[in-house]
Structure formats: structure tokens, C-alpha cells
Amino acid sequence: MAEMAITRKNNSARDLGLMLVVWSATAIIIAAFTWIIGDFIIHGFERLSWSFLTTSPSNAGRSGGIAPILVSTLLILLIAITVALPIGVATAAFLSEFTRVGGRVRQITTLSLDILAGVPSIVFGLFGNAFFCIWLGLGFSILSGGLTLACMVLPILIRTTQAGLSSVPDEWRRGASALGLSRGAALTHILLPAATPAIAAGLMLGIGRAAAETAALIFTSGYVDRMPSSLDDSGRALAVHIYDLTMNVAGGDANAYASALVLISLLILINSVAVTLTNRYGSQRITAS
């Protein structure tokens, strides 16, 4: 975008006004961000240590670490991804390669996915509780939680994969078709590999959204802070742990801040990977076309 910067000098008052607004908005955002992150670092940093990450919580989470909670969180995310990724990519492939632009199928599916993306996470939680925990009999378990999150991240995955596929140059589609390749072959050998960075970025976004989730998990994966021994076990996710320590456990604040710091670092890591992938994807598109 730097090459778009306008170099022409201008002293008009309105231009100055715009600069003022933009700079102060930027300043406000940076200040708020520093304040929040600073608060978490100040309160959480001293508790943070290797042993915090590797020991079990004790005394209702006031002391001890978060090892089983990290494991549960990762397992929940793993299930969510394993389930959502194939369905999401398949749906996106269907929408972008097997339906027409402006066709009714694509419009209706896209609209319903947009709605799904906007459904509040707590509704997903209640749905997951009723459908996975009770109706399918999975109970409060990592499996239920993972499946619920899979439903939640599905629209995000589909949306980004679809965007990725649609920015693959049409020449490759035509080329593949002219060689007598089926759409399936074109998808597996050319289109999906070319859209991989976009899919990965969507995946990271989805994971980020899922890892930060509290409301959907309280009712599905539950509350147990023991090291899970199978996917049928209830397992407490990091965000649920923070919520419980903050709202329900006297003297839990220090560990809540430390856990929040861990979660923020985790999410920031995931997000930067997503951003990097998106950027690389953007530049790749330029070199390819």
C-alpha cells in the first residue's frame, strides 16, 4: 500500500483535520492495546514458569499449573480441526467448482453459511449440549466440545477456502480441462494446492476463534480439570479455566491472569501464523499471475 501513498503536499485545514482524526484514532487503539496487554503482563507474568505449564492445578486452580487444561484445549482443537477441515474444504470446493456464480445453490448455501457464522457461540454451546452431549449420548466430553467447535469454525473455514479457490487463476482450470482432466483431478493436483495458504490461514483463524471460546465449551466439554485419558473424558478448556478462576474461585485471580497470558500468547502465535500465511499468499498470487 505504500506505493499508493500520495506524495502531493497539502496544507489545507481539512486535510489537517483528517490527519488529526486518523492519528488520534491510531493513538487510542495503540494505547488501549498497550493498556490491556500491559495489565495482563503485570499481573500474570510472575506466575508464569515452565512448571506452570507442566503441573496440574491444585486447590481449585488457585495454585499449581495448567498442564491438563492445555492438553484438553489442544485435544478439543484437534477434534474440531479434524472434523471441520475435510467438510469445510469439500463444501468450499463444491461451492466454487461445482456451482455457478450467481446460481441459486451457491447463493442459498453462501447465505446460510453467513448466518451460521453469525450465530452466537452460546447458541452453539446450547446446541452442542443438546445434540452431542444428550442426543448422541457423548456426555460432557472433549469429543462433544470438539464437535461443537467444529460446527462453529466450519463457516470460517469454508469462507476462506472459497476465497482461496476463487483467486486461483482460471487459466489453470481451463488448462486442466483442456488436458481432459476431471474437476476432481484439477482440484486435488492444482486448485487445492494453490489455495493451501488460504486454507491454512482460515484454519488458523478458526483455531484462534475456537481456542478463545468459553460460552460454547462450558456446556459441552465441561469443567473437569484432570488430565484427560480419553476423548470421552470431560476436559476443561483454557478459556473456561480463566472464566472459572475469575468468576468462581476466591484467590484465583493470579492464576487467571497467568492463564490468560498463556492463552493470549497462544492466540497471538496462531494469529501471526495466519497473517504471515495470508501475506505470503497475497504475494504468491502476484508472482503467479
Partner: protein, 292 residues
Amino acid sequence: MISSKSSFSFLWRNDKILGRVLWASACLSTALLILIAMFLVKESWPVLTSIGITRFITDAGWYPLEKLFGLAPMLGATVIVSTLAVLIAAPLGIASAIFCSFIAPRRIAQAYRSLIALLAGIPSVAYGLWGLTVLVPLIGQFQPPGASLLAASLILSLMILPTIALTTDAAISTVPKSYLQGATALGLTREATIIKVILPAARASIGAGILLAAARALGETMAVLMVAGNVVQFPTSLFDPMRTLTANMALEMAYATGDHRASLFVSGLMLTAIVMALATLAWRLSGGRVHG
């Protein structure tokens, strides 16, 4: 000619089978929405039939244990708090995108962009925790109790700001460079170019991004629950506490049975209906082409 009926590739050669498989997963994805809607209706059915939908709007208050089921104040509060959050976040987000695209030197813009991405990475419980321990007492010093519409709007606006900033940034970057060259060639000032040419050209995508953010604000649960005060009432000032539909569900669901529980599902149903309306609006706005 190569035999085309090799057993290895026959599945792929037959696009019909692949098409069916992909179609089935697309159906699954679409069915999910229907499943969720059906489930919400099923769970709220007992009160919808025995009490009727009108009482959820007309009842004087929300005391389900005393058979009062007025959701209207929460519906109002949900809309008000989301609107306020968007009103706060949209100018900030658009300004920050302008900063990124036109004002900041390349390096600073890049650093700033990753900062915004980091802001997007803060989980909602963390915002809630910060709001509860820092923001609410701060507001409370001036205007007790502190937990209020203002606190909730501020926290929500912080949460949706990255979404608006990032989508606006992306929208601006898709405006053809020729517009900019044209405007500069006409001798327009930077301010006029941005306000009169670039933003209007990116209007549709920016709008879609804002609606996306609005949906996020409507659906946010935990952070709002922690800072909004949760009193069921129409907020009449910025400092009034209020309760949103999502907070209502989260606060009471675990403790609710019978009609109380079913009426909480009505909250969910209403919320989903609002989101549905919003999504349809966004879809209309962008002419059915929200995403590629």
C-alpha cells in the same frame, strides 16, 4: 490412446461421484443451520405454545420463576449495546485503515497491521477480565455502579475494532489504483481523495465488514456478562446497567429448569433471528457476493 478406465483414477474421472460427495458435505454444512434452528424451536416450543410469543414482548419484567417473561428490555439492550459498539468502533477502525493505507510509512503500517491482528487475538474472557477489574471500577468512580451500557459498549467496540480495521484495510486495497491516479491528476487534496473517492468506492465491502462486526457484537457473551451489570431494563443513560440476550442465557441456563429453561431458548431464537436478518441485509448490500 491411453486407457481411460484405469482403476486408480476412475473415482476422479467420474466427477459425478466426487460431485455427489462434495454436494453431500455442502448439504451437511447447510443442514447444520437448519438443525440449530430446529433445535432452538424445539427447546423453546413448550413456552411458545403455553405462553405465546407476545408475552415475551409485553410482560413487565424478566422473572421467569414468578412467571414473568418480558424479553423486550434485553432485546432493546442487545441492539443498543451492539449499535453503540459499532458506532465507536467503526470510525476508529476506518481511521486506522486509512492510517495503514495512506499515511503510515510502509514499515510502520506493517507493524501496525500486526498490532491490529494481535488485538484480534485477545480472547473475550480476557477482555471481560480486564473490563471487570479495570474499566468497570474506573467508570464506577464517576458514575456508580460502573458496570453499565458504557462499559459493555467500550469492551465490545475493542473486540470488534480489529474486524472492522482489517476488513476496511482489505476493502481499500481492492480499490483500483487508477481511481487514485485519476483523483491526483484532478488535483484533489489527499483528504478529498480519501473521503470522496476511495471510501465511497470501497463502501460495499466496508459495509459488509461492519455488519460482520455487528454480528460478532450481538453474539458476544462472556465479556458482556462480566461488565454490563446484567440488570434487566431498558438502559436510559450510558451509565445504566443492562443485560443482553446472550448474557441472559449464560447467566441463567445452568440454573434453569422447565419453563424458565425453555424461555431462555426463546432468547437464543430471537438472537438468531436478528443475526439472520443482519446476514441477509449484508448479503443484499453486496448483491449476493459477500465472499468471492
